[in-house]
Symmetry: C2
Subunit: 287 residues, 2 copies
Amino acid sequence: MYDVLVVGGGPAGISAAVYLQRFKLKVIVIAKDYGALGQTTHIENYYGFEAPITGKQLVESGFAQARRLGVEVNVGEEVLAINGSEPFIVKTNIKEYHAKVVLLATGMSRPSLRVKGFTTLQGKGISFCGICDGFLYRNKRIGLVGSGDFMLEELDVLKNFSKNITIFTHGEPLKVDVKEFAVITEPIIELLGPETLTGLKTSNHQYELDALFIAAGTPSASDFAMRMGAFVNPKNEIEVSPTFSTNIPGLYAAGDCTGGLLQISKAVRDGAEASLAINKYLKTKTS
Amino acid sequence: MYDVLVVGGGPAGISAAVYLQRFKLKVIVIAKDYGALGQTTHIENYYGFEAPITGKQLVESGFAQARRLGVEVNVGEEVLAINGSEPFIVKTNIKEYHAKVVLLATGMSRPSLRVKGFTTLQGKGISFCGICDGFLYRNKRIGLVGSGDFMLEELDVLKNFSKNITIFTHGEPLKVDVKEFAVITEPIIELLGPETLTGLKTSNHQYELDALFIAAGTPSASDFAMRMGAFVNPKNEIEVSPTFSTNIPGLYAAGDCTGGLLQISKAVRDGAEASLAINKYLKTKTS
């Protein structure tokens, strides 16, 4: 059992982990990759570095800094689902973890499906959460966008509601085994309305659907948050209090996934502030 | 004429200056010394540094980072007074500067005079601002605590109100020429009440006073802020909006002097946020 499991190894997650470790809590960081920061080639506005650094250097320094202090940092492991509450059960592509507190710090939410009709039909037959909305489409024609583990997790949920599910990989190669379900690999070109979703078009074909669930790429912080019942605003940012708690006890979020200034300094500070609140929360629970 | 003059060369001031410079504004940082951070020997919780660093290293990296980007950074220069408004006239021990915006980032306010009676008599005959309160003590017996340039500035104000002024250096050697005024160098032991200040005791003597003005050491951010009419809370923290503006147009404050978490990460982020607001403010004024 961990005191705190941090999802995300960027500035917010590592900053929080470093503080939490110093509070003598048992902390683990699960980082799927180097995140958005890892792609940045030239950072010169983060305080304390005389010469410009790359995002990769900074992310690696962060991992090393946390590890040096004793934080367990698992890079390349991917969180697929978070269930339960106090303790949370965190399922990754490798194993399951139990943690009293989960801190979501996975960076900015990925862009939505950028195809014609997406914006106007959001919430009108398009969903990001099978657990939340699957029940609404019992025995209906469901489309599911995705190609990897995350899609498979979502499929596991949705197949309890309907057998009529079509997977759309949206141009990606299928990376998992979906057994009996139909798989369309052509890119989606347009979602069809007009009032609610009625189907979608690929380059060669048109499909009639009652609902389309999006589980492309990797689940973002807001995907986890929504599935757990946490408030997420229309910009896909997790709503947090000034101490970075969500409305779910024990679930915190920090950094870009909570909106605001998308800068390293802000993420680092979020992590520090969140760690103080988490430490206090854990102390209150055990006293 | 500078667009922005930053008082303080720590994480908040330098972080802001770096952003402001990148907004192509004309920025100068005036740093009296290495600040509280410069005294810190072992920093391991500021994100991005694998091995522990000293405060001195971090402060120097900050200076170098800002200078590399073209920011003028004057270390060892001390701001003594800030007057006027839009432009502000900033007087240092070396010269005078004009700036459209001033950002106060001088770190935490120095400790108050730690002698018996200080806490109970604060605001009851004890003042931190001659411009604010001098008028209340016209032709009264005034004590003035201090030994350097800051005290001299305050003396210049107070002597317009009373000729009966005694300087108390509180154990420090007198560093400036105060001409005709009496100077007591013994440490102050107790401030005398009981309801309002009636005098003070040194090791050898007792002095009757109607008011005691404190101008010891260097003026803190809250000293400047108070003199300019900005709101300062009872904890001596400058009150700022979420964008780090004070109630005085063009006067901003960031970092420890505004309260909250006294951590590098918070100061760095404050500076970044303040710079965005300052840039916007200057754009609005010139458009």
